[in-house]
Amino acid sequence: MDAKRESEPGAPNKATTVQRKSDRELVVTRTINGPPRIVFEAFAKPELFARWWIPKSFGLTLLSCEADVRVGGRYRLVIKPGGADPMEFFGRYLEVTPPSRLVWTNEEGGEPGAVTTVTFEDKSGKTLLVVHDLYPSKEALDAAIASGATSGMPETLEQLNELVTSLATP
């Protein structure tokens, strides 16, 4: 239970929080041990972004990562889950304000998707990262959660079904 251990006192810097703030909002926070200038760079340079966005421990391969990090610029990620077809994630940047704010759209899926706002706040040399997803409707966020899509981690319906079933079994 890594996630639990991380939320214990004694390692406050490592705590990642996730909260459904409202019908349409999902908020993730974490303090990163480096100044906003550097953390922002890790978001804004595709070759750096590609190194951490898909954690190694999830059995996924990032086939390609292109990002034109300018207002109106587009990004496109192609991720291959083990044993499944590659999936595309794409959208465009609405705001690029180094080193404090980055806003992008999530357009995959055909319908209007969530808008992701990342803020980088200086906390005496460290960075408080807040990743805020605003969905177009409550139904959109419900559906995203139900399909596992909020994590940006593709997941088959079978896996989802398995998970829900195992959780539902007392």
Binding site: D2, R20, L141
Partner: protein, 121 residues
């Protein structure tokens, strides 16, 4: 089957989107309570509290039992675990992602130090 499960998730997230109802769940996590108790604690009318409890009951987050004239509320149990599991899983993904980000940031910091030293030399 999946559709049914999704509908259940819908109902519980809707139930959890209200601050009073989250407060009621927290309260019931400490001890069972009657609707009258809850109404008083949250400074609400009996009818208002009954509505909130109704939503929680529908989402299977709370169970109620009427004994005589008192309706006692307690946590439904299973549903809350399910919700928490969803968010917890999402958090684990982000935690892993951020751990990798830390590595990249560490490397950039080291690089910057070295470059800075070079510049001064």
């Amino acid at each position: 089957m999946v559709k049914y499960q999704q509908e259940r998730l819908d109902a519980s997230f809707a139930a959890l989107s209200d601050a009073t109802r989250r407060g009621v769940l927290e309260q019931l996590g400490r001890a069972d309570a009657s609707i009258t108790d809850l109404a008083a604690r949250f400074h609400m009318t009996l009818a208002g509290m009954m509505k909130h409890v109704g939503v929680l009951e529908q989402a299977e987050l709370v169970r109620t039992e009427k004994v005589g004239r008192v309706r006692t509320c307690r946590l439904g149990g299973r549903r809350l675990d399910e919700e928490a599991a969803w968010l917890d899983r999402h958090r684990q993904v982000w935690a892993a992602r951020f751990d990798e980000l830390e590595n990249v940031v560490e490397e950039l910091k080291r690089k910057e130090k070295t470059d800075g030293r070079k510049k001064r030399e």
